[in-house]
């Protein structure tokens, strides 16, 4: 070891130690004092009230018989608890071709306003609703038709929807006595092209006439299902918009011989998924001659599904419903009448492959006429839902059927009308239960607000605000125990477009392809 020099610093070992210390110090300094090296943290998008809301409805349809109809619009007084301090407008108009003169049905003036237009007999124009500024968040439009007599007897309602490109409906029929009509409404300024696919009991239904349906700008087209896909007693209907955007709705009027069986609009079913919830099966009183049928569509592959029922007491799987086989591309119907007798409920479906589903409820007193009610797999309400009161008569009772399938949930139901707000109900739903809330209308007071609001029914709006740990599902139901039999209709509660995410846009050369 001749390399050893007398001086301490000259010793190789000491030098090595110094170098190691230097390296460690430099690396530590760079690590400790260096900039944060984690990926840019996810930015929470800013939430702003939406500034424009546009919806479209198939429009009032007179049934065979005498029809009272109404279009109702409402916009909530507050967004996320804050009253918006801005101007805006909310207008419901008839949808007419560009050259024609459109008619304003309802005009809202301020947040918290609501309005009703009472339709005339024979009216059939589609309607559009457009709100901007402070009235845009939660702007909601619904329509109701109440036919008390004739072959078209029944109560029907639907909620206006923003335009889209993909719709599912489960449950319409095209057999004898099933008068189902698909209404395609195009409020946009360009022609839309639509393909409609039908799934019947035996699989895909050949329906060449339903391909490439052209819907001109600002018009609507009626497609009678018994003409394009006749002879099916239950159908899954898939509406795909190839070019453009529109809204779709299906209404069906059932007759048996000359006896009216009821009428209603089908709500949109959720796109196929492996777990579905159909809320809103009403309490079917004992002794009535009522039926509940569940239809499951497996659009791609054959499915094996399990059906369970959530009642106020809890959930259970009815006998024979634990294994439901659905052929590929086909529809299978499960009769749940026995299982559901007596209780309001929601139906939960879990499947091995994506399916979608709907339910048909027929209410009938043994000696009187009955009415139908259509339900569909729905989305959870994860933000307030807004429903304008669209009763056409004070006899109609407004109910909410709410279900918390997974975990405890709460719902606060707030009513608003004429600048006033009140809490209509507070509901606590334990996990796996369903409850029915009956909403009492405000006491009649001098009418104020919406144009066309000239009847004796006090109109108001409802806001259903979900809370709690689990998802909340629900429908708004209207029913009436008429002298000639029950009348009933419902549509699912959907999350209102109150707030929109405004994300920071950043220019970046590589988007999507690499990295």
């Amino acid at each position: 070891m001749s390399a050893r020099s007398g001086h301490l610093w000259g010793r190789p070992a000491v030098q090595l130690l110094l170098v190691v210390l230097l390296v460690v110090a430099a690396a530590t300094a760079a690590t400790v004092f260096g900039a944060d090296r984690s990926a840019p943290s996810a930015v929470t998008p800013q939430l702003v009230p939406v500034s424009e809301t546009t919806v479209a409805c198939p429009g009032l349809r007179s049934r065979e018989g005498f029809t009272e109809s109404a279009v109702a619009a409402a916009t909530p007084p507050k967004v996320a608890g804050v009253a918006l301090d801005a101007s805006g407008s909310g207008v419901v108009r008839t949808l007419v071709p560009v050259e024609s003169k459109e008619e304003t049905l309802i005009s809202l003036r301020e947040p918290g306003d609501r309005g009703t237009y009472v339709g005339r007999n024979g009216e059939r124009d589609s309607v559009t609703g457009a709100a901007s500024g402070a009235l845009a968040p939660g702007f909601s439009v619904t329509q109701t038709e109440r036919t008390v007599d004739g072959q078209g007897r029944g109560l029907a309602s639907t909620q206006c929807q923003p335009t889209g490109t993909d719709f599912w409906f489960v449950g319409p029929a095209s057999g004898v006595g099933d008068r189902a009509v698909l209404v395609l409404t195009n409020p946009e300024s360009a022609t839309a092209t639509v393909d409609v696919t039908f799934h019947g009991r035996g699989g895909l239904v050949d329906a060449p006439a339903a391909r490439g349906i052209q819907v001109k700008a600002r018009t609507s087209v009626d497609v009678r299902l018994d003409q394009v896909a006749p002879g099916e007693n239950v159908l899954g209907v898939h509406v795909q918009v190839r070019v453009g955007r529109l809204t779709a709705a299906i209404t069906e009027t059932d007759v048996f011989g000359f006896e009216p069986r009821g009428t209603d609009w089908f709500p949109q079913a959720e796109a196929p998924a492996t777990d579905l919830v159909i809320p809103g099966v009403p309490a079917v009183n004992q002794g009535r001659d009522s039926q509940v049928h569940l239809d499951i569509v497996a659009p791609e592959e054959a499915a094996v599904a399990t059906v369970s029922i959530i009642t106020p007491e809890g959930s259970f799987t009815p006998q024979g419903a634990d294994v439901v086989e659905v052929p590929a591309g086909g529809v299978t119907t499960v009769d749940l009448t026995e299982a559901l007798r007596g209780d309001p409920a929601a139906i939960v479906i879990s499947s091995d492959v994506p399916v979608t589903a709907g339910a048909r409820v027929e209410l009938k007193n043994p000696d009187l006429f009955g009415d139908v009610l259509y339900l569909a797999a729905a989305n959870a309400i994860d933000a307030p839902a807004v429903v304008p009161d669209n009763r056409t008569s004070a006899d109609l009772q407004t109910r909410l059927i709410l279900t918390a399938p997974e975990a405890d949930a709460t719902a606060v139901v707030t009513g608003f009308a004429g600048g006033k707000e009140w809490t209509a109900a507070r509901v606590d739903l334990p996990a796996g239960t369903t409850q029915v809330v009956t909403v009492e209308p405000p006491k009649a007071r001098p009418a104020k607000g919406g144009k066309g609001n000239d009847n004796k029914v006090e109109s108001y709006g409802l806001v259903v605000t979900p809370g709690g740990a689990g998802p909340l599902y629900g429908v708004r139901m209207l029913d009436e125990e008429g002298p000639r039999g029950p009348l009933v209709t419902s549509f699912p509660l959907t999350t209102a477009r109150l707030l929109a995410q405004v994300r920071e846009a950043i220019p970046q050369i590589v988007v999507g392809s690499t990295g």
């Binding site: 190789p12 070992a13 170098v19 300094a29 996810a42 939406v50 920071e504 846009a505 999507g512």
Partner: protein
């Protein structure tokens, strides 16, 4: 060969007359004269011709007893004229024997010639075997010929020794004039040497004429003459300004005067072209004077066809034989190519000072050199067993296995790599262009690495897409081979050098760089060994004096490295300054400084960019990595991070061994030097890793890639370790056994097996991910096709990313390499940011008009499509969903739009513009109108935009309008006009031109010079 030419009757033997031509030959004459005196048999008469010698030649001739008569001529007399004068002064004879003052026959030479002449009367011209003057066994001539290019062809290897291999009588096209032995009657018939050839080639011309006249020319190899070739070798000064040029001119004259008549025009053209090429070669070889002289001398022949016509007419009289029958006397055509190649190989091996061959020859084992210069066919087996060859083959095999996932069609992309432009011309256009068609357009100067890419693409026959696969596949093996070669002079064992090569080629930084598509880093690694050697030569570290040529080479290589990886400027700068302080001698210090200043100068056009946004100095070109990054200390273990990098402990063996090398730093200077390089580069790498950089073109901070800096550390640590290990073994064996031996054994073992682990991991993992080959384009084909139409529409591409919305605007092509660096700055796009944000929010008030203003006709949401985004775009009025290409979603802006629009009040008319090659230029027809209009160009406003309107009344420049907050607008009048819009940046043109000049100058300095030394004298 049938010769039916009637030979003159054998004359009465009138004997031999020797004609000795002398000029300033006192250096050679004494030997020549004594040789003449010693001749047996001797010529009957010796006539000496002195062409005005200024030295003692005249006196020597006068004193010589063997010389019968001296003819004195003026100094400007040519050789041919001198011979003629001598012959005229000579008495009658049967034979003429022509000698130079520097040609000494052996005593028996004349006897041998006469014997042969007697044996074969059909031969009219004889020549001796010509050997060297100072080297009596060196063969100079056994007959001469001329190649098609005019080269004097002897059929001998340079420096070939006479071992009797050519002995025996040989027919030839001609024999040299020194010792030319000719029948006098034939000489008179043919007119002797052509007086138009004052010096050189008169002998070839004469021989050719003799052959064409149907006589034979032969060499009598038993007759021997020693010749100094003083004139041709430039030993005789003062006679000719440039003997080489005169020789060229004479050669061309000979070829054109004697060549076949039918091809003379073609040959003339060919020789002209050849002369131009040779002149260019001379310019490149830094011999402009030679080039000029050759051009003038040769031009004198080629540009005077009249002289040639006279010469050809004179020759026609004697021509009796078809030219084609002489073919066997000329060298075969392939001979020329072979000769050129051999000369080239020779020049590289002997002359070159810096270029790759220096590395080849710098090692102590010369077999490496042989391996790459002219391997003989018989050496193949030995060649493939060379360590360098085995190393390269092994590394290439590893690469080919690792590359297995990428042997398919498609575009190479992924990680930092964007698809390359198609051709070299595209790259050069991007480099010189004043406007880049990236998103909303930008005037940023292209990254300097674009120029390197362009050079490589040009070398690869114009295929820019070949560059990256070539660099990524072959780069590491070549780097390894170079690592093996440059360490040849370090006194390391072959085994250690192979280890260096393997470890360098497989180092974790290269692996990460390859997987991430960072070809710039790999290329830096390839250039580094060359640059290091050149730099060492430049400052005189390589046991040779400092070399300017090496400095120029080093400057070019370092500039290329810094262009590829700008962060290298810091370690290069620090090391150059340290070198400047450390070396001795002013010249070496200046050279060291030039290694820093030179590259700075070469990168001239880029400095304005760096001044505007200094962060570009910290970033390598390519897509920046914005994801999670490991802690900074990983850099110490050569883990540079990014999309993929080898785990940090991969570098452990190397780092520990490098620390162990510190123990030996005192003993070995190279270890210390290498450790300094390691320290500087590691420190800078740590600094880089600790920085968060937000370049102007990025909205979010990006992570710095320190890979190229770490390559410096890797290379230096390999050298340090290998140098430290050298001799340690014996030292440790001799020392007493303590803890040191086992510990060091473990350390050495760890370092030794590291390359093996790296290779196995690399082969197992493969080069893919994120590097990929396939379709990289998000643009659907029909949208791309529509983008090429005259409207020049664009597509907005959006994708949500961690709560933000990343977007880009694509024109007729997808993003490609170079776009990241030339993108407009984020600040210039804030208005577009807002438009995209509002559009995607779904809150309503979708600003679709603003998209149309920017020529955006399509909106593409890239898969996986965010449902909120889809809903928002679906509900945007004015946007129409049209198709779902793949998993993506596409919308069309309903109103028509285009790059150039005419704005008049409410009207917005889209104008069709020509789609020229230049991304900036636009040509449109503006129709007539009642009012003034605005022409809006959907490009970011820039001072460089110029619009020129041509109307019936003339041409004028349109004023710009400042009404838009981002777009370039011009005010067009009401009259119809043809408007040309273009963008120009004169300042950039000056800078790029200056850069080109600097690079050319450096290349000229770096090129090996022309050989000026006498071969025989060496």
């Amino acid at each position: 060969m049938s010769r039916d030419v009637p030979l003159p009757e054998t004359p009465d033997d009138l004997g031999v007359v020797a004609v000795l031509v002398a000029h300033d030959g006192d250096g050679f004459l004494p030997r020549t004269l004594s040789a003449l005196a010693a001749l047996d048999p001797a010529p009957d008469a010796v006539i000496a011709v002195d062409t005005g010698s200024a030295d003692s030649t005249a006196a020597l001739l006068a004193q010589a007893g063997s010389v019968n008569r001296v003819v004195t001529l003026p100094a400007d007399t040519g050789f041919a004229a001198a011979v003629h004068a001598g012959v005229e002064a000579a008495p009658a004879s049967s034979w003429l024997w022509i000698l130079h003052d520097d040609s000494a026959p052996e005593p028996d030479t004349l006897g041998a010639l006469l014997r042969n002449a007697a044996d074969q009367p059909s031969v009219a011209v004889w020549g001796p075997k010509v050997l060297g003057w100072d080297e009596p066994r060196r063969l100079l001539e056994v007959g001469v010929s001329i190649s098609r290019a005019g080269r004097r062809h002897t059929g001998l290897e340079p420096g070939e020794q006479d071992q009797g291999q050519y002995d025996g009588q040989r027919d030839a096209l001609a024999v040299g004039s020194a010792g030319l032995f000719v029948r006098r009657d034939l000489w008179s018939d043919l007119g002797g040497f052509d007086r138009s050839l004052p010096f050189f080639r008169e002998d070839v011309d004469f021989g050719w004429r003799v052959n064409l006249a149907g006589h034979r020319v032969a060499v009598a190899t038993d007759a021997v003459l020693h010749h100094a070739e003083a004139m041709a070798r430039g030993r005789r000064t003062g006679v000719l300004a440039d003997p080489h040029a005169t020789d060229r001119a004479s050669a061309l004259y000979t070829l054109l005067a004697n060549g076949r008549g039918s091809t003379v025009l073609l040959r003339w053209l060919w020789l002209l072209l050849q002369t131009l090429v040779r002149a260019l070669g001379n310019v490149l070889a830094k011999a402009p004077r030679e080039a000029a002289v050759e051009m003038t001398a040769v031009g004198a022949v080629l540009m005077r066809p009249h002289r040639l016509r006279v010469a050809r007419r004179a020759r026609r009289r004697w021509r009796l034989v078809k030219a084609s029958s002489l073919r066997s006397l000329f060298p075969p055509p392939g001979q020329q190519v072979r000769h050129s190649l051999e000369t080239l190989a020779g020049s590289l091996s002997v002359e070159t000072d810096v270029a790759p061959s220096t590395i080849l020859e710098s090692g102590p084992t010369d077999d490496d050199l042989d391996a790459f210069v002219g391997p003989g066919t018989g050496r193949l087996r030995r060649w493939v067993r060379r360590p360098g060859v085995i190393l390269f083959t092994g590394l290439a095999a590893v690469q080919l296995i690792a590359w297995r996932g990428l042997y398919r069609d498609g575009v190479l992309h992924g990680g930092a790599l964007l698809p390359m432009p198609i051709g070299a011309s595209d790259v050069w256009q991007a480099y010189t262009s004043a406007w880049h068609p990236v998103t909303m357009g930008s005037n940023t100067m292209a990254h300097p690495s674009t120029a390197v890419l362009g050079l490589l693409a040009t070398l690869l026959l114009g295929h820019a897409t070949w560059v990256v696969p070539t660099v990524l596949v072959l780069g590491p093996p070549v780097a390894g081979l170079l690592g093996y070669m440059v360490t040849g002079s370090f006194g390391l064992s072959v085994r250690l050098r192979v280890w260096i090569g393997a470890a360098y080629a497989l180092n974790p930084v290269f692996l990460a760089a390859t997987a991430q598509g960072r070809w710039t880093t790999v290329l830096v690694g390839v250039l580094l060994p060359l640059a290091a050697v050149a730099a060492a030569r430049a400052v005189g570290l390589a046991r040779r004096p400092a070399s300017t040529r090496a400095a120029a080479t080093a400057v070019l290589l370092i500039a290329a490295m810094v262009a590829l990886a700008p962060p290298l400027i810091v370690p290069v700068g620090v090391l150059c300054l340290a070198l400047a302080l450390w070396v001795t001698g002013l010249r070496a210090r200046l050279a060291a400084l030039s290694l820093l200043l030179g590259p700075v100068l070469v990168l001239l056009p880029w400095w304005p960019v760096a001044a505007a946004d200094p962060t570009v100095l910290l970033l390598e070109p390519g897509v920046p990595w914005v994801g999670d990054e490991e802690s900074a200390w990983h850099a110490v273990f050569l883990d540079a991070g990014g999309w993929w990098s080898a785990p940090w402990w991969f570098g452990l063996g190397l780092v520990v061994a490098c620390l162990a090398a510190v123990l030996r730093a005192q003993l070995r200077r190279p270890v210390r030097g290498a450790l300094v390089v390691v320290g500087v580069s590691l420190t800078w790498a740590l600094v880089l890793e600790a920085l968060a950089v937000t370049p102007d073109t990025s909205a979010v901070p990006v992570t710095v890639w320190s890979g190229s800096v770490l390559v410096f550390a890797v290379a230096a640590s390999l050298v340090a370790i290998a140098t430290a290990v050298m001799g340690s073994r014996t030292r440790l064996q001799r020392a007493a056994f303590t803890w040191r031996q086992p510990v060091l054994a473990v350390v050495v073992l760890m370092a030794a097996v590291s390359p093996l682990i790296w290779a196995v991991t690399w082969m197992g993992r493969g080069a893919t991910d994120p590097l990929d080959r396939g379709v990289a384009n998000p643009l659907p084909a029909f949208v791309r096709a529509q983008s090429d139409l005259p409207e020049q529409i664009r597509t907005l591409v959006v994708q949500p990313a961690s709560g933000r919305l990343a977007y880009t605007v694509l024109r007729s092509r997808d993003a490609q390499w170079g776009d990241v660096e030339t993108a407009p700055s984020v600040d210039q796009l804030t208005s577009l940011d807002r438009v995209v944000s509002d559009l995607a929010s779904g809150a309503g008030s979708a600003p679709v008009d603003e998209l149309a203003d920017r020529a955006v006709q399509y909106v593409l949401a890239v898969a996986p499509v965010d449902p909120d985004l889809e809903v928002a775009l679906d509900s945007a009025p004015g946007l129409l969903r049209i198709a779902n290409p793949g998993e993506s979603s596409l919308w069309r802006v309903e109103q028509p739009t285009g790059r150039v629009r005419l704005l008049a009040d409410e009207e917005r008319a889209v104008l069709s513009s020509e789609v020229p090659g230049d991304p900036g230029a636009v040509a449109i027809d503006v129709p007539a109108a009642d009012t003034d209009r605005l022409i809006e160009l959907a490009e970011l406003a820039d001072d460089g935009w110029v619009a020129t309107a041509s109307t019936d009344t003339g041409t004028r420049e349109l004023p710009t309008s400042g009404a838009s907050d981002w777009a370039q607008r011009f005010v067009a009048g009401a009259a119809p006009a043809q408007v040309q819009i273009s963008v120009d940046n004169p300042w950039r043109r000056v800078l790029v031109g200056g850069q080109l000049l600097i690079v050319i100058a450096l290349v000229l300095i770096a090129l090996p010079g022309r050989r000026r030394v006498d071969e025989e004298a060496v």
